[in-house]
Symmetry: C2
Subunit: 220 residues, 2 copies
DNA sequence: ATGTTTTTTGACCATGTGATCAGATAAGTT
DNA sequence: AACTTATCTGATCACATGGTCAAAAAACAT
């Protein structure tokens, strides 16, 4: 009967305890795993450590993720998607200064807010991308080629210097991720203190200043 | 008797089988360990894998390095020292263009010749420098402060733009090491082909072009 | 209330691995 | 040749860890 099914849908629409709990637990586990994988690498990360970080019993982690590799893949895909969708400013209709500046800002901000994810990604690539090789070959290659095309247009239109677009992209990737991946080294060289808000601001400014001056033609 | 002791010294001067063999084995093991630690991280690297890579029995590796941590430390210290002594061009008496250009060249060349070492170092820092924390706090801090002082002199003398010296150093570190640490990603984006000689040349040129133009005042 | 499904959890197991050990072999010494 | 020392190696051990299992507890459905 319509009446009945409507009623049951009405109830189902209200967030249910089990579903809410499941999602809460999944999120807790993935977040904990991101930290543990970042700090220990894939092999060094154990269910025991992840469970401790998530503050739930080890068996419960295993209930949601019976295979360590699946949990790892979840973490890696998560950070990959964050990066992927957060940086679409490089379009030919934007001005090179703004586009590149925004991209640097965004990536540095992600290094600040998601350092563990960045480190997991770095680990994955260092070890030869055993899990995400297909992402590199499809998505990333495609994404990269499109941005290179935009940069080449900018060059052709005389809006920036004739730089090697690939080298420019790698330069931006490396420096922005460096502040996450080598954050411990930077912190040590900063007297053991994590970067303050002001230091992050100054970093963004300084990185943009060097790269943009290195790339963008002086405004006549 | 002098004669006797002289004789024995004369023999000792000739490289002896045991000593030669010992050094050869030590070198084989450390070189193999560098690869295995780079590809698997500390926890993922096993005596079995290292032995296989070195093509000697596992027990023999254990004979030379009874503690995995000591072998790891040896590998990390090795690459650290290579980096440390290979880049002393940043001196105030040198011209900024040449000094920074040489530094970038040297570090890129090391990324090319010692990519595994670079990856081991990256792993170590990502995991919070559990082994080399003291190196960072003493040596590296000191080294860095001296280079920053040089850059500040250059700025004061009006030879380069007033950039943030720390940001400049981190930029150079990150981009040069990126070509080793993320070499797999770069290779994939390069159609699965490792960089050719010409591509390395072009990379050096392009990186220097962007950074130097970003930093060094145009020659009047 | 009763039955069913999902979730939670401790006990347990099989496997891989860092490390030990003792015996064999080779090198060096007298 | 006889002896000492360094090197080499397979067998073995203790232990951590990824994963299984069964039973309890909670949530849900009727």
């Amino acid at each position: 009967m319509p009446a009945h099914s409507t009623d049951s849908r009405r109830f189902a629409a209200i967030p249910q305890k089990q579903i809410r709990n499941r999602e809460k637990n999944l999120h807790r586990i993935v977040a904990a795993a991101e930290v543990v994988f970042a700090e220990n690498g894939f092999a060094g990360a154990t269910y025991a450590k992840i469970a401790q970080q998530a503050e739930i019993p080890k068996s419960n982690v295993l209930y949601y993720f019976p295979k360590k590799e699946v949990l790892y893949r979840t973490v890696v895909e998560d950070i990959y998607n964050v990066w992927r969708y957060a940086a679409d400013s490089i379009k030919r209709e934007n001005s090179p200064e703004e586009a590149l500046g925004d991209y640097i800002d965004t990536k540095l901000e992600l290094s600040r807010t998601r350092p563990y994810g960045s480190r997991v990604w770095a680990n994955e690539i260092i070890q030869g991308a055993p899990i995400v090789q297909d992402y590199l070959e499809r998505d990333l290659k495609d994404w990269t080629n499109k941005r290179i095309a935009v940069i080449e247009v900018w060059i052709a239109e005389g809006r920036i210097n004739p730089v090697d677009p690939r080298a420019l992209l790698y330069l931006i990737w490396s420096v922005t991720q460096h502040y996450a991946d080598f954050g411990h080294q930077i912190k040590t060289l900063n007297g053991g203190q994590a970067f303050s808000d002001a230091q992050w601001q100054e970093t963004k400014r300084a990185v943009k200043a060097i790269i943009l001056q290195g790339v963008v033609l002086p405004t006549q």
